[in-house]
């Protein structure tokens, strides 16, 4: 019994090693880590080690904080004025006010909690007709619009009766907006079936916030295509106005309605693709019918024209599907569908479903994703993105080579320690103990499903480094003054050694904790692993090494 009590630290270490081994290798060992695990272990790997891509980009937009908004009317008036002054779409201006933790309500006089945001689209050359606008002209246009925008925004705010100047305008968007962007991108990733993809918000030291999107096993191009589109889908009725004169647009359906989406479907005859939309909310279905009736589409209309220009020339009326400011299809309404919309429209309201027609499959898929995930409140500024990509095959090779490198480094440590002490009885347990620290950490990572990345590997290197250092301190201290012959002498020397180790460990933990708390991306993994490793070392492995050493030196 006393032997067990004396060696309880070693027993604890063996127990934890077994637990880590289970977490690493047994199929049921990991809690919630089965998804995304690969290879013979339960370890999850980040994109740097398993291949994949990552994009980090800021959100395009400008914000004025601390605006005093005292009534609902004023909120609306500011929204409309800014919209008109800057010639923006309604979706690109957002005025909000926080009162008592709730957004959207008017504040009281003297409280400046309001926020005005504009989400100006970053302009891409591809949106212009290259025959009409040259690249130089485009560049001039972009420069001009960038130079004035902060000032323009401020003057628009002044026009809305707010006492603000250029200094009150900052780049970036509000917390609420960036969080909803995070949600929408996560929805998009799920809808597109990119398994294991993740979205998070990172903050730089200067306070600028970024959206970071990661997707294992996918190329950067796939990811870019998914997130660079704003994903605005609208169905508009394009028809002559009530007097039969000019053509106008009437919005029939937007993503703010509540609906469910069917899979992309190919038409048997025409080869056209379509996505079915079923309204989930009776009110939205009613609104759809009302708008169709108001635009006189409830008797069925013929539409053969392909462009808005052709529609006007031929005097037709059409439904337009607009995807990110681009008309993707122009369709009419069949007489039978029109009949179900007319009168009390009981036919449509019983099964409130219609189809959005699209010419090809990829467009149908994009529209399906956009309808499912919703639109991004603001687009990402892809011109300021940083991206990172590792090919899966390369990552596989990389993993194996890293392992070999690690083993060789450990052998080097073992060699030096053996040369120094000339005694395998001291050197061998030292190497085994240091390695067991790594096994414990790996087991921990597998158990909680923490993905291994290069920063985590760097953390392992740091842990082994300090681990072996500390074991050398213990060994030297214990054997400093001649042979140890009683357990009491051993105990007091071991305690002395532990004072040094404890002080060094406390220093490391203090130095690393800011890094672990701040979301600095790569450094966070490094800091967490180092702190964990130091704790495991000080609490478990190093005391256990002391026990082993005592057993070997005292008889």
């Amino acid at each position: 019994v006393s032997r067990i009590r004396d060696n309880w630290r070693v027993i604890a270490l063996v127990f934890l090693l077994t637990a880590s081994g289970l977490a690493l290798f047994s199929p049921a060992g990991a809690i919630g880590a089965t998804e995304g695990a690969e290879g013979p272990t339960n370890l999850k790997f980040g994109i740097e080690l398993s291949g994949g891509s990552r994009i980090r980009a800021p959100v395009a937009g400008m914000t004025a904080d601390g605006v005093e908004l005292t009534s609902e009317d004023q909120i609306e008036q500011v929204e409309r004025t800014v919209e008109q002054e800057l010639a923006l779409d309604p979706v690109d201006v957002r005025v909000s006010n926080v009162r008592g933790g709730q957004t959207g309500q008017a504040g009281q006089a003297g409280q400046a909690n309001g926020t005005v945001e504009v989400f100006a689209d970053p302009i891409a050359y591809s949106e212009f007709d290259p025959d009409r606008v040259s690249r130089e002209q485009f560049q001039e246009y972009v420069n001009a619009s960038e130079n004035v925008s902060a000032a323009e925004f401020a003057s628009a705010l002044r026009a809305a009766g707010l006492d603000l100047d250029e200094g009150d305008v900052r780049r970036g968007v509000s917390q609420a907006t960036i969080e909803s962007i995070q949600n929408v991108i996560q929805n998009k990733i799920n809808a597109a079936g990119l398994s294991g993809g993740s979205v998070r918000i990172a903050q730089s030291a200067t306070g600028e916030r970024f959206i970071v999107v990661e997707s294992p096993g996918r190329s950067i191009a796939e990811l870019e295509e998914l997130i660079s589109r704003r994903g605005t889908v609208q169905v508009l009725a394009f028809h002559p106005d009530a007097d039969g004169g000019d053509y106008t647009n009437t919005t029939i359906m937007t993503q703010d309605m509540s609906y469910s989406i069917g899979p992309p479907n190919q038409d048997q005859r025409g080869g056209e693709w379509s996505v079915s939309v079923t309204f989930e909310d009776d009110e939205d279905a009613r609104r759809f019918v009302d708008r169709m009736q108001a635009a006189d589409f409830d008797e069925g209309v013929d539409c053969r024209a392909q462009t808005t220009q052709a529609i006007v020339e031929r005097g037709e009326r059409c439904l337009l599907t607009v995807f990110d400011d681009e008309v993707v299809s122009t369709v009419g309404v069949t007489p039978s569908f029109g009949r179900s919309l007319s009168g009390s429209a009981s036919g449509f309201l019983d099964s409130p479903q219609f189809v959005i027609t699209v010419p090809n499959q990829s467009e149908a898929r994009d529209i399906q994703i956009a309808l499912k995930a919703g639109r991004l409140p603001a687009s990402l500024d892809m011109s300021e993105r940083t991206s990172f990509e590792v090919e899966p095959a390369l990552a596989e090779e990389f993993k194996l080579n890293s392992l070999i490198t690690g083993i060789l480094a450990v052998l080097a440590v073992a060699g030096v320690v053996y040369i120094r002490y000339g005694d395998a009885r001291i050197a061998a347990p030292m190497v085994v103990t240091a390695l067991s620290e790594v096994v414990l950490l790996l087991g921990f990572a597998a158990a909680i499903g923490y993905p291994l990345d290069l920063s985590v590997i760097a953390g392992f290197i740091a842990v082994i480094g300090t681990g072996v250092d500390d074991l050398i301190i213990i060994a030297d201290e214990v054997m400093a003054e001649g042979d140890v012959n009683s357990s009491r002498v051993f105990q007091s020397r071991f305690r002395k050694a532990f004072w040094v180790i404890g002080a060094a460990a406390a220093t490391t933990i203090l130095a690393m904790s800011p890094l672990a708390v701040l979301s600095l991306g790569d450094l966070q993994g490094f800091a967490i692993v180092t702190i964990m490793g130091v704790l495991v070392g000080v609490l478990i492995t190093r005391p256990a090494y002391g026990d082993i050493l005592r057993r070997l030196t005292t008889n």
């Binding site: 990389f398 890293s402 120094r420 082994i464 072996v468 002080a503 060094a504 490391t508």
Partner: protein, 91 residues
């Protein structure tokens, strides 16, 4: 920091001759740093041969960092400690 704390601890908290304490602390401290340096040299060389750029960079930086630490501890810190021990405190 390890080797600095070790050195301070040995010289300031233990009884015994200054140079004797220093010798004992150096024996341990230099072993620690040399172990790490040799591990990092191996890692740098092997990862360079395998073409893993990142591990090569980590290894290279650590080799130089540890070498600088070796000099920093036993030249700067030791000198300061000796000054403190023999001249700085006169009371």
């Amino acid at each position: 920091v390890d080797s600095d704390i070790l050195l301070n601890n040995h010289i300031l908290r233990r009884s015994g001759d200054f140079y004797e304490s220093t010798y004992r602390a150096m024996r341990t401290g230099v072993t620690m740093t040399l172990t790490s340096i040799s591990a990092m040299i191996v890692m740098t060389v092997v990862s360079f041969l395998f073409g893993i750029g990142l591990l090569t960079s980590i290894g290279l930086v650590l080799v130089f960092g540890l070498t600088a630490d070796l000099m920093n501890t036993y030249m700067l810190n030791l000198s300061l400690l000796r000054y403190y021990k023999f001249e700085g405190v006169r009371s």
